[in-house]
Structure formats: C-alpha cells, structure tokens
Amino acid sequence: MSVLVYIQTQDGTATKAGLEVASFAKNMNVGDVTALVSGTLSGDGGLGSVGVSKVLHFSEAVTDNAQLSKLTQAAAKNAAASTIVFSGNNDGNAIAPRVAIALNVGYVSGVTCLPEGKTFTRNVFSGKATAAVNVLSDVRVISITPNSFGIKPDAVDASVETFSADIGAQRVVINGFTPTSNDGSVPLPEAERVVSAGRGLKGPENWGIVEDLARALGATTACSRPVGDMGWRPHHEHVGQTGLTIRPDLYIACGISGAIQHLAGVNQSKVIVVINTDPEAPFFKAADYGIVGDVFEVLPKLTEAIKAL
C-alpha cells in the first residue's frame, strides 16, 4: 500500500499547496508517500520535510491536464498506489477527475480532514453541510481543500528518481500567463488570513486602509461581488457563490453586509470578524467577532494594534 501525491512546484520547490497534500498523505498513515513532480526540481523540493520517502521526477514541465492525467496514472502504477491525492486548487481539480475516470475508480473532491477508513468528509451545498463519502473501489482519487489540513513537519530522507512515461501529445497550448498578484502575497485559495472589503469602502481610492491591514497581518485581500462588478477591484478577488470559495484561518470582512451568496464563499473560515456601521447587517450572525463602527476609523486602529504586537 502506498499513497501517490501530485505536487506542484515553483522554482524547483514544492508549493504550499503541494506540501499540504504531501503532509495529508503522510498523516493518512496507510503506507509510504511517493510524490510526482514535473518540471524543474531542486534537491527533493522540500518534500522530505513532510514525510515523502520517494520523489518521481518527470523532467519536462507538463501543463495539459490530459497529459498530466496520463503521467499520474503511470506514476500510480509505478508506486503501486492505492490512494492518489491532489490539491483541490484549480490545477488539481482539472487533473484528478480525469485520473479517476481513466482508472475507473471513485473520486472524492474537496476533502477537509483525514479519512476514517474508506470514508472521506467533504463540504457540500456551498459549505452549508458536509457529506461523509464512502469509496467503493479498491483505489481512490481525492483532492484536498486548500488550507484545510495544514503542513505538519515530519522529516524523512527522500530519494529522487528520474521518471519517464508516454503522456501523449499536448493539445492545450499556453500562449501566456498573467499572475493575479505581483505583490508576493499568497494566492487567495491558499491564504491563511484574508482581509476583504465591500461597498462600505465607498470607492476604489479608499482601498489603502484595507491593504495596510492586510500587509500588517500578512493577509491576502479579497472583495465582495458588487465591488468586483463595479471594477473597484479585479474580479479574481471576488469571494462568494459565483466567485472563489475560501477557507482561511481568519477572515476579516470590512463594510460587507453579508448576503447569503457572499457567505457561501467564506462560511468555512475558521474565525470570521465583521466590521460594519449597520448593527443589523446579516453578516454579524455568521461572525465570531464583530465591531459596529466606521471602517475608516476602525481599520487604521486595527492596523496600529497589530503592528504593536
């Protein structure tokens, strides 16, 4: 029995999402963890630090999910894997279902905690319920909701093996890549802390106080749907039912009333703080901590208090 994890790297090192996937696999405690990496890899990519004992390295960088599906199938065969784990980010969500179909096995997406036997827990109904899912096949493919498990150091010696496989022709060609943020902050789905703001900010020129608080906290910024629709903020920052679903440790909502569609995207956050001038704002019902007050006065005070820690 072993677990295969598909790992994304940046500059040769496993990404935060990759380390989380490997850590989850190790803590499943069902056998050795083998990692599959395509493209540049330096050393073991940091994977030994979270319990990966073997890294299968495919030297060519592969981006087409059909090819990555074939590559994963070959690696799963090589490692005799009974569980194949992906990060539930956009890239993992495009590959993992293909692998499950190709192997004709069960797939559980968006797993939020370690399984009990063959039963996995995932969120459904946009975070309004959870489902316990039994996998009936002997082999299973799963994806992990980013930032749901965390990274638990567990250092072992990882061997790195060059791996080759027939992955077919590339059919989706990437012409260019535009990063969503160039300020070096963590991508929203992986962020542990998020500062989000809505119409209460009154205009895009006022976002400085939101960004100051985010910087002080080491947080990523987000926004509500109207703010994205009005072009005050880029739409990739939109969290909510038709935008991103996130699960940070801390979500601070500034000047957002908390419509049910917005809550659907953030209600899995571990701690929710709401700052709003309207004491009747529905968001307070979903919050752990609340301040009834003007964001223009409260946010700078919070930023100062955090800097003083």
Partner: protein
C-alpha cells in the same frame, strides 16, 4: 458550430438545507430549484452568444428526472435551441459524466460547455470527467472564449494567475465568472421555449464508485462577540489570546 451545454438543477441559494432517508439524501420538498448559476450565467449564455455570432445550435443536456424540466425550459427560454434529458438519478459525478459522454460520443459537438461547479455538490468534476471519457482536451475555469474556425482561444484561471491558451478542434470547457453576463429571458423566449424540442433519453446504466453515507449540518454558530469600536485594539487581543489565530 454545434455546441452542447451541460446544465444541472440546483437548490436556490436561499433554500433551507435538510436531509431525508437517514440523512443519505437531500430533502427536495418545498425547495425552489434554479439552473445551476455557473451553468446558466457563464456556460449557457456564452454558448448562445457564440452561436448568435457564428451560426449553429446550442443543445442543453441534463441528467435527472422530470423535476428537471422547469429549469430545462428556462434554459430554452434564455436561447438554447433544443434540450436533452437523460432520465436517471445519479449519485456520483462520474455517473453524470459517463451518461453525458455516452450520449455525446457519436454526435460530433464542437465544444462541450459546463459551469465550473454545481452549487449543491461543489465537486468541479463533471466536465473534466466528460473530457476523459471522450478523450478530449479540457480547458478548466475559463473566463473568456473566442472561436475562429477550428481554433479556440481562451483565458482560464490557473493557480495564482490566468493562462491564455489555444486549442484546435473539439474540446470540453468549464466556465467561470467573466465568461458572460446573466441574461434574463424575454416574453418571446419564454413562449417559444414551450415548443422547443426536449428529447428524453433512457438511462444507459452506469454504476457509482462512491456513495454518501451521511449528510451532516454544521454545528450552530455561537454568538458573535461584539467589541467596542473605540477599543479596536481589544479585538487584536482577543484574536491572539482567545481565538489564538494571530
């Protein structure tokens, strides 16, 4: 061009979520169903726009029983040409994907559209699975598409950024925000939807490799701790000492 759009019914966002049958099944009684927003606002509307610009047809496909018919008529009212419903009650994403692929395999669709996820199951799996079943390329989380003959150019959300990609020939895409704007059906659309063809296809029989053993509602949220606006620093203290989050 010949386009296929996968649409599913989903409970309206404000629906009360409850379960039945030993907490193994969603309780549909009294629930208002809508077209899954990602399927409707982004996938379907963009497919209709492409056909308006280039000519051709938009067929919708749904896996489900007769309770899906109202949302199928809504899709026809928005502008789909015709509809297919596979008469089955799937319990797993791979069942839905295999049933759709079995139907679509010999129909030569140019592009198969789906929303990026459904708001009930949230798996984001069906379009990728259809692509694998039919050995087609898959462009995930697309925010725009332009078609020029056999060549499609799309922007799609990757982890940490946006890719601009090109694909030749037939493929599957999942659509997300940015693809199109919501389109409200007009009276003419609603009237014509009543007579547009809705073909019911028999269940081709596919087994599910997973099963839900139990749905659970989250524990009730405790009361919100209110902090005085003049004492914002107190919130920082609570986040550190009580919530232990910073």
């Amino acid at each position: 061009m010949k386009l296929l759009v996968c649409i599913s019914k989903a409970p309206d966002t404000t629906s009360r979520i409850a379960f039945t049958d030993g907490d193994k099944r969603f309780d549909e009684s009294g629930v208002q169903f809508i077209v899954n927003p990602y399927d409707e606002w982004y996938a379907l509307v963009r497919a209709i726009e492409l056909v308006e610009a280039h000519g051709g047809s938009v067929t919708t496909i749904t896996v489900g029983d007769t309770t899906c018919d109202p949302i199928i008529r809504k899709a026809l009212a928005i502008g789909a040409s015709d509809a297919v419903r596979i008469d089955a009650n799937p319990t797993d994403s791979s069942q839905v994907a295999r049933l759709i692929a079995n139907y679509a395999n010999d129909k030569s669709y140019d592009i198969i559209f789906a929303g990026k996820e459904s708001i009930d199951n949230n798996s984001s799996a069906v379009p990728a699975m259809i692509a694998e079943c039919m050995d087609l390329p898959y462009v995930a989380f697309a925010t725009s598409i332009d078609v020029d003959g056999d060549v499609s150019t799309l922007n799609c959300e990757s982890t940490g950024g946006t890719n601009n990609v090109t694909v030749h020939g037939a493929f599957v895409l999942s659509a997300t925000k940015g693809m199109a704007e919501q389109k409200i059906p007009n009276m003419r659309g609603i009237m014509s939807a009543r007579t547009k063809p809705l073909t019911v296809v028999e269940d081709s029989g596919v087994t599910a490799p997973t099963e839900v053993s139990k749905f659970t509602l989250p524990p009730a949220k405790g009361d919100c701790v209110m902090v005085d606006a003049d004492n914002a620093a107190d919130l920082v203290r609570l986040l550190r000492e009580e919530a232990k989050i910073i």
